[in-house]
Symmetry: C2
Subunit: 161 residues, 2 copies
Amino acid sequence: MRMSEGVEWALHSCLLMAWQGDDPVSTAKIAAAFDLPSSYLNKQLQALAKAGLVSSTSGPRGGFRLARPPQQITLLDVVEAIEGPEDAFRCQEIRQQGAGASFPKAEFRERCAIAAAMRRAEAQWRQSLAAQTLADIQSTVDGKAPHAGPRMRNWLATAGA
Amino acid sequence: MRMSEGVEWALHSCLLMAWQGDDPVSTAKIAAAFDLPSSYLNKQLQALAKAGLVSSTSGPRGGFRLARPPQQITLLDVVEAIEGPEDAFRCQEIRQQGAGASFPKAEFRERCAIAAAMRRAEAQWRQSLAAQTLADIQSTVDGKAPHAGPRMRNWLATAGA
DNA sequence: GGACGGCTACTCGGATATCGCTTGTCCGAGTAAATGCGG
DNA sequence: CCGCATTTACTCGGACAAGCGATATCCGAGTAGCCGTCC
């Protein structure tokens, strides 16, 4: 089980946009800031746009910016925008195949106990992700490295010159 | 992010072995019970054996059986045996690439706040999985469908004749 | 009748192909700013 | 000098390939039970 690296890209991109406020940032700038392939990063940002997390602007001085304040964007929002809303564990109901096929169907009214247990675990995971917003991450970083945000903002301004 | 379907196979196989007690069950039997490709299922069971969750016996009347009582096998044990112990989210430290490469390295002594948040979420997931054992699943099933276990056991005995 | 040796069939175990999804790249449509011209 | 049409360059957006891991399959090594034979 491996999460797409696009999630890490999207999270860092969102954090960068949070620091940037309402100023749009182009895909090329973000790609340069983290040394990533810009075309593929664009794909991830498009996914964020489709999910309504960021808004896009075309043309010169265009780019992406957060569609909502950082307090209203959870990590779960970003992860689901990239990875999709489906559970990692997908119950295929194999208990009903083979031997189970010869048993009365009424037996399977109750949900598979294994799937239920896995679902509980994933619910914990989602809850933890939903409890943290971009603003929380910002606060954490500001607390430990207060100049990280402004400096990145400055780098973006000078690199574009 | 998608979990290997081998996890579902392994969990159901372990539950079947739990019902079967110390009686070894061959890969072919389990595959027939759930209508799965036996050769590939064998690969998953080998992974369980390598992790020390099940023990294997060769030759006629051979097969796999649980290496420990069901109370001592957690869902996390099974999941990690199949999927590996690594986190789903892998921090690539992209914050140190691009713009970050020109910043003093001392800046990055603190762990990436994003990676830390993702790690917390996964810890919750693992904790939930570790809190449930095969015996718990057995109890749940026995409570809702008391004859499921014995009937499966009977099916295995008659199908082999 | 009992014991022993060989045989057979069944099991795991790992090496070997195939497939789908993540990853990566490309080019076109659209837009806003910049520019040059005319008044 | 000011306003406007044209040009230009920059942006997103989606369509088109490549690489890698999960999936699926096969065959060989080893073992326990069975059978026939011999004592």
